[in-house]
Symmetry: C3
Subunit: 153 residues, 3 copies
């Protein structure tokens, strides 16, 4: 029987601030994590990602290249970030010119099982659990749904 090529996950080349906690097993490489931030288990964080201070990334979450997350941010469980919008009808297959950036500003809380397309989210925003965020969010408030819309108070 033919053999497959075994690949291993690892936590390597991570530039961390003071008092950063990371649960293992996770696959986290070539990224930055600021002071007092915590990363849960079963997490994947790809290269070039920047995570600020006092930020919490919960279990089962995936953060791709081209994502920047600032300070005092909460990312729930099983949240998935996306940098490739399949603009050509399918994956960019490594053509990073087709990838888009995501910026999550200070004091943002993203509920579990949410999906974050490449967008910018301003400070002081809450994203309800199970949401799909498809557009930039430029005003503080609470957003939820698929696609996520602002909830009336």
């Amino acid at each position: 029987m033919r053999k497959y090529i075994k690949k291993k996950i690892s936590i390597k080349k991570v530039r961390v601030g003071k008092n950063v906690k990371i649960y293992n097993p996770s696959n986290i490489y070539e990224c930055e994590i600021g002071d007092n931030s915590i990363i849960g288990p079963f997490v994947e964080i790809q290269k070039g990602v920047k995570i600020g201070k006092d930020t919490k990334i919960q279990s089962h979450t995936f953060i791709c290249e081209f994502v920047k997350i600032k300070n005092n941010v909460f990312i729930g469980h099983s949240v998935v970030f996306i940098n490739d919008k399949f603009q050509k009808g399918g994956p960019a297959k490594g053509n990073k010119k087709l990838w888009k950036k995501t910026l999550i500003n200070d004091n943002v809380s993203i509920g579990s099982n949410s999906t974050i397309l490449p967008v910018s989210i301003c400070s002081n925003v809450v994203i309800g659990a199970g949401s799909v965020v498809t557009k930039d969010i430029n005003y503080s408030g609470v957003y939820a749904g698929n696609p996520a819309v602002k909830l009336k108070k």
Copy 2:
């Protein structure tokens, strides 16, 4: 280069009934699991959770504190439970007075990739896959969608 603090997952201080099966790796601690129940891999179950008999928790699921699941329940893959509704505009940060309880009664089946806000679900309910349950469910039947609503027969 600064070092991060390594945290390990484990299966510890779990009070189990007869014939309970748990797949490793999982992160399961200080909780109860009843007779004949099965827990899949890549699962996290937090302290104080009570799971009844003949219940199945599938892979990639996260069950937080303040959740009680009764007997003959099926929880699909990548289901996420929530106890913190961000009532103050962000995470409760350990202030458990702000956390809310969830109760899943007998013979409930929750489809994969569903998100369960802190609610009570009565017996004999089916939740369709990919649903977001935001309110108590007091009548048996089939519910689905984001937010989940009762499907007409």
Copy 3:
């Protein structure tokens, strides 16, 4: 204190083509994976699954029995496949006569956090991230939402 039964995940009895890469830890058994395909970490693939050539299965994804995926397919992160529609008001509990098949044809791309009920999806389809696919897709195009519908160009 009573002991639970420890179960281990593994990558075993997988029939692979040339140049197949699989990240560990994953739980993958008694299935087929074609040439040049890649499987990310924290993945579960059950027995009898057939995956074609040049296909990518991303982290945290679950692929159940009765699923066939063809060539040049992209399956995002935390995608969940389903074979049991709870037709009798709950899980089929191993009665495979109640399980349904899924077929994903060539050049399909399924966005992260999507949920795929037992359906057939034709070639050259894009499923937006966070979608719930509840019906067969017989025409090429872009589909998204819960439930997924065709997007206008």
